[in-house]
């Protein structure tokens, strides 16, 4: 399927070769990730071609960075401190939009590809995430909480950087693997591909990926959210039934 998409795109891309800018033809291995009963995560393959004007890759080549981002979510980050011998939450900070998932892979370390300003504009790298912190706290406090949040998300494998995660072959074909862990929330994800040369972003292409719960899992999650009273009654009934069935079964046996 993806091969056909690539084939369909190729003539289009060649038409635009009159311009002097290279063009990206990206694709992802799956545009939907289904969460089913045995979901333990998924592996996304991001791949595509770089079409240079004139059809030939320049000698010194170009670099690729891919970013997969999950739907933004508002959250509170709490910080524990020792109070009277007990570690408890003391300070907290709000962030209005943090990506629920953020993975960046590049053909070389990001610091070698772009300067800080460019990285900040395109949100390349964990240091450059725009987390929109809530107003009212000092910048250094905000940075402390940002670092805490990023560190926590990294250890949950929800945020990660892979500075050598993109392979480029023949200077024109690239591919990258991105691991999607089982903990990811559902929603619309984006896979952005950046073509970078001489510290400048030459082309950007975006593909959408939808992460969804399917079948039974979706039904349960929806029921818990929408018909919460009935859901509670069913949960009680099921546990009563199981408890009764267990004792009845064993008494006979």
């Amino acid at each position: 399927m993806s091969g056909r998409a690539l084939a369909a795109l190729l003539p289009l891309a060649f038409l635009s070769l009159g311009a002097s800018m290279p063009v990206l033809v990206p694709d992802v291995s799956q545009s939907r990730i289904d969460i089913r009963y045995s979901f333990t995560g998924a592996e996304l393959l991001l791949f595509g071609a770089i079409l240079f004007p004139g059809g030939e890759a320049p000698k010194d080549g170009a670099d690729i960075a891919v970013v997969v981002k999950g739907p933004p979510q508002p959250l509170v980050v709490r910080e524990k401190q020792k109070v009277a011998g007990i570690w408890m939450n003391v300070e907290s900070a709000r962030f209005r939009s943090t990506p629920s998932f953020y993975a960046v892979a590049s053909s070389r370390p990001l610091s070698q590809l772009v300067d800080e300003r460019t990285a900040a504009i395109y949100e390349l790298g964990l240091q450059n995430l725009q987390l929109s912190p809530g107003a009212g706290s000092a910048p250094e406090v905000q940075r402390r909480f940002e670092r805490g949040l990023i560190d926590l998300m990294e250890r949950r494998q929800l945020y990660f950087e892979n500075p050598r995660g993109v392979e480029i072959s023949e200077g024109v074909l690239y591919r990258a693997h991105v691991e999607i862990p089982a903990r990811v929330p559902v929603g619309n994800y984006t896979a952005e591909t950046f073509l970078i040369r001489d510290g400048r972003v030459l082309a950007v292409a975006t593909r959408d990926i939808r992460v969804e719960k399917l079948g039974f899992e979706r039904f349960i999650a929806r029921a818990a959210e929408r018909w919460s009273f009935t859901y509670g009654l069913v949960a009680v009934a099921v546990s009563l039934l199981l408890g009764w069935a267990g004792s009845a079964l064993f008494r006979r046996g």
């Binding site: 333990t40 011998g85 939450n89």
Partner: protein, 303 residues
């Protein structure tokens, strides 16, 4: 075998959860406590969000208490009048507990409160049980010259409006069991425990109920109060994971049956000593957890 929990939003090893349910069920069958005090901390330790762990453990306890209750009913070991009073208090307690849970969650202190309550309650009851079982096993000598314990606690005898509770052999004010039920209900919502480990000693030592109806009546209360807790969590925090509860139940229903058989072969004092040691170990682990520098200084909560 990995199974995705739709409400918790993560995958767990199904066999691990069934095994955990099995161990807890074994304890339930052997000793007659719900075992929520073990399930909830272990689930949290396993990475399940605390609110989901508390809510789903309560759902599981409803199921486990059914078989016990049926067994006690057959032996005429339930005081329904007393049960109704305690349940009445318990239902009010779950409502108040639900409000407290939400407030504490907003303030970010729910984890600390859960841990402190566990340490204080489990530590205290574990030590009491250990001492009592040790005396019964002749490890500790009972203190000589101590007066026999009074049948009625003077504070409880002071309360007005006495009722007769025939099965329990009591003539006391319903306010005392009402209050006891209230505390039990609150703890169920906050801690995801059935509250049997509090109710049973309180019924024996504070109310002075006759021993044959204590466990059956406490199971009746646990059944209703955990069912109410499931409803409260389902409608407010929306954190009941029916798949998680099912996995736990499968293990605990089977485990409970083996526990009952095992209990008939062992001395009851030994069983109580065993339970006391488990309770003290859980309390110690949680106390250390409060004082040690936690692995995660930062925690996140979705808004």
């Amino acid at each position: 075998m990995d199974v995705y929990l739709p409400v918790a939003g993560l995958s767990v090893n199904a066999l691990m959860i069934v095994a955990l349910g099995g161990v807890v069920g074994l304890l339930t069958g052997m000793i007659g406590v719900g075992g929520g005090f073990l399930t909830t901390p272990i689930l949290i330790f396993y990475g399940i969000p605390p609110s989901v762990a508390v809510a789903s453990a309560a759902t599981q306890i409803t199921g486990t208490s059914v078989s016990g209750l049926l067994a006690h009913r057959r032996r005429n070991g339930v005081d329904y009048r007393m049960g109704a009073v305690i349940i009445g208090g318990g239902l009010v307690g779950t409502l108040v507990g639900g409000v407290m849970f939400r407030l504490l969650q907003q303030w970010g202190q729910i984890d600390t409160v859960i841990a402190i309550l566990y340490v204080v309650l489990l530590g205290g009851i574990g030590l009491l049980m250990a001492k009592e079982a040790a005396t019964a096993l002749d490890i500790l000598k009972p203190k000589a010259g101590k007066a026999a314990p009074r049948r009625h606690n003077p504070l409880i005898a002071m309360l007005p409006m006495r009722w007769r509770f025939y099965r329990s052999g009591l003539y006391i004010s319903p306010l005392a069991p009402l209050l006891l039920g209230f505390v039990g209900g609150m703890l169920t919502v906050l801690l995801g425990v059935g509250g049997g480990f509090i109710l049973v000693p309180a019924m024996i030592y504070l109310l002075g109920m006759s021993a044959q109806v204590v466990v059956g009546t406490s199971l009746l209360q646990i059944l209703f109060v955990t069912a109410a807790t499931t409803m409260i969590h389902a409608t407010t925090t929306k954190s009941v994971d029916i798949v998680l509860a099912l996995l736990l139940l499968i293990g605990s229903v089977v485990g409970a049956q083996f526990g009952v058989r095992l209990a008939q072969k062992l001395k009851p004092e030994l069983l109580r000593m065993f339970l006391a040691i488990i309770i003290i170990a859980v309390a110690l682990r949680m106390a250390l957890g409060l004082g040690w520098r936690p692995e995660e200084i930062y925690t996140v909560q979705l808004l």
